[in-house]
Symmetry: C2
Subunit: 326 residues, 2 copies
């Protein structure tokens, strides 16, 4: 039977998801959309919209909640209530998920309804799904990643085309790659949220206190550093890292000087890339668009298809002990 | 209940799979291994081995057949009989699968037991799984890929370290990256098998007559071409391509001159990489080790975990028509 969706938010990602859903063959359709200002004129018929969250959350005919607001508090309330009400829930709110990662871990274990959030990390790249499936049978040593499309676009403009940071930021905003608050991008905070979510799915560990983590802004680099890097054939990139060291998980985001041999050297413009070093597969790199309405909407659509197939994130157990086989 | 595996072959990939399975937490174990010479001394207890395929294929207690021989005819017979007997079947034999892709497509539709073969393409990279899941909701425009680890290793040695083709081939063989028949690698034939399998899962189309396809060997390039390419900042790579043009699927493998802007420019040594251009996500790149006992064994292990979770490859339907939603 066709599944019914309640959608929160109708910004860039939500419209990308809406468009992707239209052209897909998934047996699900949007019943109602909750937005802040229900009276604002939109492309869709007015009857789809409401400003009352309970209209969606308490509707027994709505099976799936897709939460795509950029308000952290609303996101938290909506997701928690939807799961409590037994509705499969999809979100893209990296800040909400990262800041509440311990509680999110608890949600996975206690609610019967699945909570899935591929679009919160790496834009279009199905990285959580690959961590949950392909990498589930492996011990992961380290993750290194470019996770903020806006910052990477700015750094590319500075190093390829010689723009100043301010000029490059304006261009990124014009192109629509910057978040509603560009400070989150530039400061490394946005990438930090994402690496915290990746860490949870790669290492099975949650980080309670974000303020103790090292997060360095790209504005900490003086402009002439970029010229020096270029002269030596190097690049400056904002790199998020998560790894275990002496049994302890360490997570950071900082600008780094990287050489041609680095897997992340060629990742330019608004692209994101994630390098995963697994004990069996060795290093793998996943690259794709880290921003944009349709690419991110495609990740949400994939989450919907996972929900329809009965998929849910599972707890990661430690791997490595010898098992009696053969 | 723990599942029982019958393993065919005990070469590099099979031993990698065996080792990966030992350290995994999957609820399955190897019951019997079928090899050509059962008397040959091995690390494992002699009682595991047999030379009689029917001992595995007709054992009602064996749930899953993992076929990792490098003999195309044996592979075909074993896989077909295993599926006929209702056993979930995993294979890594790209030649067998590609040469029989129309029949394989038929197997997916007629047998109740699943047939899965991630390790046949792209070594460690879970590319078929991503085509079957993430890209299932999208229309794929084109696939471009480096699919032969041995050839890529040779080209890297020639262009980075100035080796001749002959010197580089010897080095690749010493490192264990070349197939049992290096001619399959060098000629582009091995990559052709893999792009045919990718095409089926990306476009839903099978190719009956392999001999009509364009396959060019890297030996067709004269040695001084490499110096010319380097002088212009270009590289020569063996590229497999599959795309739709005027509604018709075209598939080829040939050495190409590529520039720094190309997603495949930085793919060196025995690595494989696959660029998928989807109508929603845009271009994504998946990179990982294209050869090696443990990385390829990890792909087989992933197939096993997919089988245990009830996964099977599904038919790809055309996508793109507007669907009534919202």
């Amino acid at each position: 039977m066709s599944k019914s969706i309640g959608l929160f938010g109708f910004g860039e990602v939500a419209r990308g998801f809406y468009q992707a859903l239209q052209s897909s063959q998934l047996d699900a359709s949007i019943k109602k959309i909750c937005i802040k200002d229900a009276a604002k004129p939109r492309d869709l018929d007015q009857s789809f919209f409401t400003s009352d969250p309970t209209v969606l959350l308490n509707d027994p005919d709505i099976d799936i909640i897709v939460e795509l607001t950029d308000d952290t508090e609303i996101s938290y309330e909506v997701v928690k209530q939807a799961l409590t009400n037994g509705k499969a829930t999809i979100s893209a709110n990296k800040k909400m998920i990262a800041e509440n990662i311990s509680e999110v871990s608890h949600w996975h274990q206690t609610y019967s309804a699945p909570f899935i959030y591929e679009a919160s990390v790496g834009g279009s790249i199905p990285i959580l799904q690959n961590l949950e499936q392909f990498f589930k049978q492996q011990e992961i040593h380290e993750i290194r990643a470019i996770l903020n499309g806006s910052t990477n676009y700015i750094l590319t403009q500075m190093q390829k085309n010689g723009l100043s940071l301010d000029e490059a930021l304006i261009l990124a905003q014009e192109k629509g790659f910057a978040e509603s608050d560009p400070e989150q991008d530039i400061s490394g905070r946005d990438a930090l949220y994402k690496i915290i979510i990746l860490s949870y799915h790669a290492f099975g560990e949650t980080i309670g206190n974000l303020d103790q983590l090292r997060v360095e802004s790209i504005t900490n680099m003086e402009d002439h550093f970029y010229d020096l890097a270029k002269a030596q054939g190097l690049k400056i990139k904002s790199i998020a890292t998560a790894k275990r060291k002496n049994g302890k998980l360490s997570v950071k985001v900082q600008p780094e000087l990287i050489s041609q041999d680095d897997e992340l050297f060629g990742i330019e413009h608004e692209n994101n890339a994630i390098v995963i070093d697994g004990n069996l597969s060795g290093k793998q790199v996943y690259t794709g668009k880290g921003a944009g309405s349709l690419p991110t909407g495609a990740a949400v659509l994939n989450d919907l298809s996972l929900v329809l197939s009965g998929f849910r994130y599972g707890a990661r157990k430690s791997i490595g002990g010898l098992k009696k086989s053969a």
